[in-house]
Symmetry: C2
Subunit: 340 residues, 2 copies
């Protein structure tokens, strides 16, 4: 095991300030229920942030809301609008960053929405649209747990499951903008129905939302479990706690979850040979037993050559990863030399 | 299925001649039993080729043999040695192309062999060492079935199983030079022992060498099968023929092979969202039923968004892919502007 270099937080020096000429960008994290707009400087620092609840999810209403949040965040940061260089938006789903179109936005119920254009009509800056986990991966790579590594895989297990890829130092988004959809790799072909409409996806088994559903389904089907006393929704941490206390249902779900996630991540490492895997998302980061098991098994199951020198680390930017990454990408896209 | 655009050979116009200034390179395909050295021009044409059998597999003996084959190929092509710009070598295994070291060369029994240096001691040109399937992927992408696509996955199922990756127009080799080792993703954790020493690898189930072993093992264990009458080694095409004729053992192996390869390739497509998958290797290309089944299932199992616009095509350069790809990479590495 001497080849195994892993651990929690890496102590890496912060990068030099990027040559953004003192200009800032807006980074937006657009979720299914909330949106957050933040002012990001050239070093990836969050100068201010403004969170809003989405009451009306039509594209026009969301664009209005984000435009207002953007102006508020700029005021809160004490910045002039003239000093803002660009706006970056990270959103869940299939995003064509080149054209600025949300092809499929499952959380918002959007299809083929030219959202960058809607924002451009409301804001005087260039707008860059991207996938939320690509944004988070870029944020972690720039100023978080991925610093100083050129091949980085952000593996995210939260309510949903996904990933973001930095390969040879560049963000890789795939030919259609949907690379990294590890939550929808098939682990039980023909199996459990996933929210995406397909069957047997990893997310249908191990995503936080589905874990909660699976507990509810088992209890409704008459299965005895300590989890029946937990007020829904049952969180992953509840399941891990019950599994450690010897609850049968929880143990079963947890063992399966560890097995599926370990094989998934190990095979991903074998395919892409990253230098560093950043683990993110509430399911992985709130459940230390699961986290430990997955890490240990990845170092058993990934091809030996691909795990030499591999580091598994925890995400470091938390909820800021998306706004930092989308803001920095936007800044780098318009300020020459801003890219580190 | 209107999103499904697939088919056999794509008719893509040949690229313009690359600006190699009329210079040529040597491309070498170094296998476990044979090596082939070829003279490659700036358009990827094979001007001459010289094949040798490896009798002595020590690194020094192989380097001597390749040096002789290189000089012979140059003479056969009627080229002057002064017109040769560089030598590219594609070899199976874990290759550190930056340092020119074969870290693990399973077919040759090599470990940590500075093979580029051994060749440089014998030849007056720069030497670029790379993985054989990376070389093949680059060859197909440059002048074969991958032309005009920026995100290309070469999926190779022959005696062994592997892949090569062109992402955003560049060859992706991974942080340690071993990206793409799909043959060693785990499909049956704890399962059949693989030649790599690990268990449950895709190659241990579906690689041509292992398919042949599995037939022999089943027959030795008393299983009745028409394949018992085939003189070993049993080839994949023999198994497909017997399966189509109703042989039970062959049908079982073949169904499993189709299932494992389909899920593997579908998940690979979901992760990387390539525009084009190039299918290569004797097992896939000599077995039309398997080829059809895998293609059909990939279009069912890959995430819908990742299969939009996806093309599955057959490799076009055959055995030349490796020498063309390694030769072109070498040429591009030393002749400014040669890269298209």
């Amino acid at each position: 095991m001497d080849e195994r270099r892993h651990g929690g937080r890496l102590e890496v020096p912060r990068p030099e300030p990027r040559a953004s000429g003192g200009r800032v960008a807006i980074g937006v994290d657009l979720g299914g229920t909330h949106a957050r707009a933040a002012v990001i400087d050239g070093r990836g620092a969050v100068l201010s942030a403004c969170k809003r609840t989405l009451s009306d999810r039509t594209p026009e209403a969301v664009a209005d809301l984000l435009a207002a949040a953007t102006h508020e965040a700029i005021r809160d940061a004490g910045q002039s609008e003239a000093n803002v260089a660009a706006v970056g938006v990270g959103a869940a789903g299939q995003i064509h960053s080149g054209t600025g179109v949300v092809a499929v936005g499952p959380n918002l119920g959007w299809r083929d929405v030219p959202f960058a254009e809607l924002l451009r009509q409301r804001l005087p800056w260039p707008v860059l649209l991207m996938n939320d986990l690509s944004a988070a991966a870029w944020g972690e790579r720039s100023v978080g747990a991925g610093e100083s590594a050129d091949d980085v895989l952000l593996y995210f297990v939260g309510s949903g499951i996904g990933s973001g890829l930095i390969l040879d130092g560049s963000l890789y988004e795939g030919s259609g903008g949907v690379a990294g959809e590890v939550g929808h790799t098939k682990v039980v072909p023909g199996g459990r129905l996933c929210g995406c409409g397909e069957q047997g996806c990893l997310e249908a088994y191990c995503g936080g939302h589905n874990l909660s559903l699976r507990v509810a389904e088992a209890i409704a089907a008459g299965r005895a479990s300590a989890l029946a006393t937990v007020k829904p929704p049952v969180y992953a941490a509840d399941i891990e706690r019950a599994a450690l206390a010897g609850d049968g249902l929880a143990r079963e779900l947890w063992d399966e979850c560890a097995r599926l996630l370990s094989v998934s991540l190990a095979n991903y490492v074998t395919l892409l040979n990253p230098a560093r895997v950043i683990l993110g998302g509430g399911v992985l980061l709130s459940c230390p037993e699961l986290r430990r098991t997955v890490e240990a098994r990845v170092f058993e199951l990934a091809l030996r050559a691909s795990r030499q020198g591999l580091q598994l680390v925890d995400a470091r930017l938390g909820d800021d990863a998306g706004v930092v990454g989308s803001g920095l990408r936007a800044l780098e896209s318009v300020v020459p030399g801003a890219e580190s």
